[in-house]
Symmetry: C2
Subunit: 323 residues, 2 copies
């Protein structure tokens, strides 16, 4: 199977999406505009706006105002990245220096606040209560996921259900909201909206699981040191499988080092190798496949049109992602 | 004139307002709930929710759901205080240790994000586009005011018009939005809504100007060192009048020290005394009176009922505030 059609369509949709982002950027207060520009110019796949546009088109909305609506989710996404990078003191984002290292933490936090505020105002300007409710829910769920992720950091006993609930909030909700937003913008039926939500949630969960698996890929493949999540104390599925495979003594030792952040660089590297050798990253990709199967099944209930095929290719892209 | 009636009504309205705040607090993620509780428990006048309730009642809304709506503006206000205190590294807030000094900056920022998200979700749950538009506008204006205030810091040439535009954003907009929200909640006429907005803006501008004047009152009166704004590099009106009164040489010296933050403690104290002796704080209160006159004139167009008298007393309270 190929994702050629998706790539072609993305090339067509990117200019109006980026133009709408430029319009939104221009409404920000002067001093934080360069911060927003920095994070948008650093790239990003524009996955969320693209999903808004595809679902809206699939369900019959044909105008161009949908681009202004679509970028609100990219703005919210950028706002969370700006705040997260300050809180994690991350050095880079999208291969470029993180915004707070260039503009300082104050400007990064204010730019995040301003982006969120402006995105919210754009959504409100559409004067549809369901859109406002959806967007405010997306903000709250994303924020809560991020907060609970920080709570769970360096806790080796975090349950799998709690992990799933965290990634549902911090990643899947925004992707789900993108698809629901497209459905709402097209005034779709309730059943169509639910199918879009289910598709988005499945793709979102799979996206994060594949990300978690990729985090243990060799540095030569991903262009950054393997095991970043391990170092940050995030018990993602590959690491959970590794921990489950340890004997009691090994697990106690692992739990201590994980909780205290006292693992040596050599131990980290050994764990990354072991995860790859045992195929725990592959197993995490299999978990992602289950979510994608659910997403595709929901997608099958939507109208048979070009955009539906593109959304199928999107699921394939998420599954096959190599970096 | 007396504000006795206002105090009596406040005593009646505080319990349902605080109960609504408790309900909202309970919906926050576990780890940030204590941070929100800290800032709400530290006190605060609940001026914003009270104004929502008074305007809503004045214009005919009688139900209790209005309390849940009213506290959204207190939540937004608390969110901005949490973020501001991190950015300014403030030691205290409302006479208690600032939240970030107790819970750390990460938790303070996340709690601010969560409060804003939850407040937005509560407003959206009322399913009225005009309320969503108003609230998103209030977030954006407040955020922009705060950003421009930081931009203007330590700039002795900041124009009076720019200063007014900053305080309109950072303070007056939320108070104006409180009054407009009450009008919208009561499905008031457009003219009534505009009168509420004008009243709120006037009271909000006056509130900040009185605050600016009080900042130069003796420590024995305000319970904190005089001239905090001077130390932080904020060119508020009393300081502007002082600077305008200097000769060319004195002004150059002042501008340098103000811009570089190199003023000695002794110089600061001398400037505070001079401001009081010359009555520059009193002149700032006169400026506030002009805004209050506008507020009262707008108020006069609203129905003649108990709440209108309470809102008049509110203006009086703002004028007479001694600390």
């Amino acid at each position: 199977m190929s994702i050629l059609l998706l790539k072609t369509r993305l090339a067509l949709e990117l200019p109006p999406i980026n133009a709408a982002l430029d319009r939104a950027e221009a409404t920000l207060p002067d001093s934080v505009r360069p911060v927003a520009h920095h994070i948008f110019a650093a790239g990003g796949k524009r996955l969320r706006p693209l999903l808004v546009v595809l679902t809206a088109r699939l369900l019959g909305r044909t105008d161009t105002a949908v681009y202004d609506l679509a970028v609100t989710l990219e703005m919210l996404h950028a706002a969370t990245l700006l705040h997260d990078d300050v809180l994690d003191d991350a050095a880079t984002r999208r291969g470029k220096p993180a915004a707070h290292t260039v503009f300082g933490p104050t400007q990064a936090i204010l730019a995040g606040d301003a982006l969120l505020a402006q995105a919210n105002a754009i959504v409100a300007s559409f004067r549809e209560p369901a859109l406002c409710a959806l967007f405010s829910c997306a903000i709250a769920e994303t924020c809560s996921g991020e907060i609970r992720e920080i709570e769970a950091q360096r806790r080796p006993q975090t349950a799998m259900a709690e992990y799933e609930s965290i990634i549902r909030g911090k990643t899947a909700w925004l992707i789900r909201a993108s698809c629901e937003m497209g459905a709402l913008a097209a005034h779709a039926t309730e059943a169509q909206r639910e199918a879009c939500a289910a598709y988005g949630e499945g793709v979102g969960m799979a996206f994060q699981l594949v990300d978690d698996a990729l985090d243990f890929a060799p540095e030569s493949v991903i262009g950054k040191p393997s095991g970043g999540d391990l170092r940050e104390g995030k018990l993602t599925p590959p690491l959970r499988y590794y921990r489950d495979g340890l004997d009691a003594e090994g697990r106690t030792r692992f739990d201590d080092a994980f909780a205290n952040g006292s693992m040596t660089e050599e131990e980290c590297r050994a764990i990354c190798s072991r995860i790859r050798d045992a195929g725990y990253d592959r197993r995490t990709r299999d978990d992602a496949d289950k979510w994608l199967a659910g997403a595709l099944s929901a997608l099958g209930t939507l109208p048979d049109a070009t955009e539906r095929e593109l959304m199928r290719q999107m699921a394939e892209y998420v599954r096959e992602r190599k970096k």
